[in-house]
Symmetry: C3
Subunit: 326 residues, 3 copies
C-alpha cells in the first residue's frame, strides 16, 4: 500500500542503509523500496524482527532483508539476508527517517487557511475554522467552531465534526461524528529509552476511521508508526478515550469513558468495554468480548468471553473471588 | 417539570405511538403528554419498565401507561395499561424522538454570534467568544478566550468561565467556576447495541450545576437523557473528570483528578473520591462516603463508609488483605 | 528563592498574622518575609507543621515561627515560636492570601494581546494566538493555532507549542514540545473540606519544565501551591496525563497515557510508568523504577524496583498471585 500522506524518498539503496547503521557496504547494492513490518513488507522492502511474538510473521514475510540482533539470529530463515544490529528499534527509527524525513516533525500545520464559502459542497460550518493542504470533505457535513483540519485529511459524506476538534493524517468514512475537543492523527508516543536520552520515533501511518463511527469529546487518537490506527464501522467511543498508535478496533464496538489502549493491540467486532478499562499493548482481543469497567487487560482474550478485573480474568471468577470479602 | 431547552411536540396521541411501534391501534386514543421515567412521569405521560431495580418505582408511578417486555409483564400492577414490545430501549428511543425531534442532533450550534460589549451586565471577557441563542449570564462574571457558550445556557452571578470552554443545555448557579477546556452539556453516550448497528439515543435532559461549584480543566459533563445531570452546591471537581448522563452529585463533594462516573448514579453530600476512581452506573452512594483513589465501585455504598479497592470494599479489609503480600 | 510570578506584599508583621488568625498580639512585632514549607523556609519566614511525615523537616527547619495545632505541640523543638491554631490548613490559606492577594484568582488573563510579527525572534506561528504580559520566548520556536500563552511564561529555544495549548505561570527549557490541547500552569486542586463549605487554596508556585521534554495532548499540569511543580530534562509524557500541584518528576522518565499523579509526590530519574497508573500524593519514587500499567501506587518505592498491581507491589509477586486464577 502506498503511503498517502508522507512523501517517500525513492532512491535509497541498501548501502545507504548500511552506511547509516555504520556497517560495511555489500557488493550487490540493490534498491530498497521502503521499510515495513513483517506482514506488510514486499520483496523490495526492508523489514525487522525483534520479538518471539512475530515468529510466524517472520516465517511468512515476503521481504528478503530483515534487521535483527544477535539474540534472534538463529530463528531467521536462511533465505533472508540479515542485517545484524545492536538496537533494532534505533535502526528502524533511523531508516524510517531516511525514507520519510517529514514524519518526525509534528509541529502545527502552517499550510492552513481560513475556511471560506464554497471551498466544499453543502458544508455547514462555524466560525474560525482552519483547513490545511490536501483536505477533502464530502457532502452534507458540518464542522464546529474553532476546529482545525490540518493537512492530509479525507472526510466522507454526512459527517459532523464538533467544536475545537483537531485532525490530521486521517481518513474518515461516511456518517461519522467527531465530538468536541477530540484530537485525531497526532504522532503516537513512539519513544524508546536510549542510554542517555529518550529517542523520538517517526510516525508514517494514518488514522483510518470507518462509517457510522462516533468519536467522543476530548478523545486522543494517535496515528500509526509503520502501520495505521484503525477504527471500524459502527464503533462508538465515549469521552476521554485514548487510543495509541497502530491500534486496530473492529466494527460495532462500544468503548465507554476514559478507556485507554496501549499501542498495536487488535480488537475484534462487537466488543464492549466498560469505563476506565485499559488494554495493554500488542494484544489480540476476539469478537463479542465484554470487558468490565476498570479492568486491566494484559493478555489475549478469545472471542465470546466476558472478563473483568486487574489483571482481567473470566468475569465469573472475578465475581466469585470478590463475593465474600467485603 | 417542563423541559427548558428542547421543544416538545404537543399533539401526540397513543395511537401515534402504537403506530410508530408497529402495534395495533386502540379505541381510546388519548393524548400523551410526554415520555418520562417511572419516578417523574405524571398521569398523562408514558413510562417504561425494563429492570428489576425499578420495581419500587413501578409500584409508585403516577403514569397509567408503561412500556415493557414479556419478561416483566407479571410484575406490572394491573391498573397500568401495558404496551408490550420486544426491545424496550429501542421503543423509548423512537418515542422520545417523536416528542423531541431535535434532541438527537448534537452538531455545533450555528446560532452563535461573537460576544460584544453590553450584551451582558458587568461581564469581563476575553477574545473570540461565541454566544448562542437563549443564553443568560448574571452579574460580575468572566468568560475566557475562545470559549463557546452554545444555546440554552443560564449562568448565575459571579461565575468564572475559563478559556476554550464549551457549554450548552446547562443551568449554572452563582459563584461557580468552569475551568479551561471543560465541555459541559453535550449529549451523553446513550447508545445501545442493536442487532446490526449501535443505535443513538436522544438526550432531552440538561446539566444543572449549583452554587460555589468548581468544574476542573478538560472535564466532560454530559447532559441527561430523560432526566438531568446534577452537580450540587459547593462540590469541586479536579481535572479530567468525566461525568456521564443522568448522574446526580450532592453538595460539598470533593472529586479528584481523572475520576469517572458511569450513567445514572446518585452520589450523596460531602462525598470524597480519590483520583482515578470509577463509579459504575445506576448506583447509590450515601452521604459522607470516602472512596479511595483508584477504586472501582460496583455496588451501592451506605453513608459514612470508607471504601477502597477494585471492586471497592471496606477500607480496613482492603488494607488488611494487602498488608503482607508485598 | 524569590517568587517570579506573584507579587508579594512586603510589609507584613507577625501581629498582622496573629490578628488575621484572631489570636492575641505579641510584644515583639517582627517583620515576616513570607510563608514557606519547613524545608524551604528561612529565618524570617513563617512555616507550618501538620503531619508526622515531616518530623525530620521540622527538626531541621531554618524558620523560627511555626504554625501547628494542639496535637503536635509536644513534637515541636523548643527554640521555635509556635502559633497554635485549630485548623492549620485554613491558617496557611489565610496567611498566603495575605502575602499574595492575586494567587487565588485564576480567571482568564485579560492582559493578553494578539501575537504579531516581530514580537519574538524567529518564531513560526499559527493563527489566533494570544500572548499575556511577562512572556519570553526563545529562538526558533513554533506556536500552533488558537494557543494562549497567558502571563508569566518563559519558553526556551527550539520549543514547539501545539494548537489549542494554554500555558501560564510556567518556565520551559530548550527543545521541549507541548502538544495540542495541553493545559499547563493552572491553579492546582487545592481545597480542603471546611465545616460547611470547601475552601479554595492559593497557589503561588510555578510549573518548571526542563529541556528535551514532551508534554502530551490534553495533559493537565497544575502549578504548585507553596512550592513548584517540576518536570525534569528528557522526560516524555503521553496523552491525557494529569499532574497535580507540587509534583516533582525527574529526568528521562517515560510516562504513558492517562497516568495521574496526586499532589506533592516526588519521582526519580529514568522512571517508566505504564498507562493509567496512578501515584498517590506525598510519595517518594526512586530512580529507575518501573511501574506497570494500571497500577495504583500508595506507598514509597525504592530505586531499581519493578512494581505492578493495586495496590502496587513487587511485579514478581503480582504475577505469581495472578497466575493460576484465570
Amino acid at each position: 500500500m502506498k503511503n498517502f500522506f508522507f512523501k517517500k524518498k525513492t532512491n535509497i539503496r541498501i548501502n545507504d542503509i548500511l552506511k547509516l547503521l555504520k556497517l560495511k557496504k555489500i557488493k550487490n547494492n540493490i534498491k530498497i523500496n521502503d521499510i515495513k513490518d513483517l506482514d506488510t513488507a514486499s520483496k523490495n522492502d526492508i523489514t525487522f524482527f525483534d520479538s518471539l511474538k512475530y515468529q510466524d510473521s517472520l516465517n511468512n514475510t515476503k521481504s528478503n532483508i530483515v534487521i535483527s540482533n544477535k539474540k534472534f539470529l538463529k530463528l531467521i530463515p536462511k533465505k533472508l539476508f540479515v542485517i545484524e544490529v545492536n538496537d533494532v528499534h534505533l535502526s528502524i527509527y533511523s531508516i524510517t527517517s531516511l525514507f520519510y524525513p517529514d514524519a518526525s516533525n509534528d509541529s502545527f500545520d502552517s499550510s492552513t487557511k481560513n475556511l471560506k464559502k464554497n471551498m466544499f459542497k453543502k458544508l455547514k460550518y462555524g466560525k474560525n475554522i482552519l483547513i490545511g493542504n490536501n483536505v477533502k470533505i464530502g457532502n452534507n457535513c458540518t464542522i464546529g467552531h474553532n476546529s482545525i483540519i490540518e493537512k492530509n485529511v479525507v472526510i466522507g459524506d454526512n459527517c459532523n465534526i464538533g467544536n475545537n476538534v483537531i485532525i490530521k493524517n486521517t481518513i474518515i468514512g461516511n456518517n461519522t461524528n467527531i465530538l468536541d475537543g477530540a484530537i485525531v492523527g497526532k504522532k503516537g508516543f513512539g519513544f524508546y529509552p536510549g542510554k542517555n536520552k529518550n529517542i523520538r520515533y517517526p510516525h508514517i501511518g494514518a488514522v483510518i476511521i470507518g462509517n457510522d463511527v462516533e468519536i467522543g469529546c476530548n478523545n486522543t487518537i494517535d496515528r500509526g508508526s509503520l502501520s495505521n490506527t484503525i477504527i471500524g464501522d459502527g464503533t462508538f467511543l465515549d469521552n476521554q478515550v485514548h487510543i495509541a498508535h497502530n491500534v486496530k478496533i473492529g466494527k460495532n464496538c462500544i468503548i465507554t469513558g476514559q478507556v485507554g489502549f496501549a499501542g498495536s493491540s487488535s480488537i475484534g467486532n462487537k466488543v464492549m468495554i466498560g469505563g476506565q478499562a485499559g488494554i495493554s499493548g500488542h494484544l489480540t482481543i476476539g469478537d463479542n468480548v465484554k470487558i468490565g469497567g476498570g479492568s486491566g487487560v494484559i493478555k489475549n482474550i478469545p472471542s465470546n468471553t466476558k472478563v473483568m478485573g486487574y489483571p482481567a480474568k473470566n468475569i465469573r471468577n472475578f465475581l466469585k473471588e470478590n463475593k465474600f470479602n467485603d
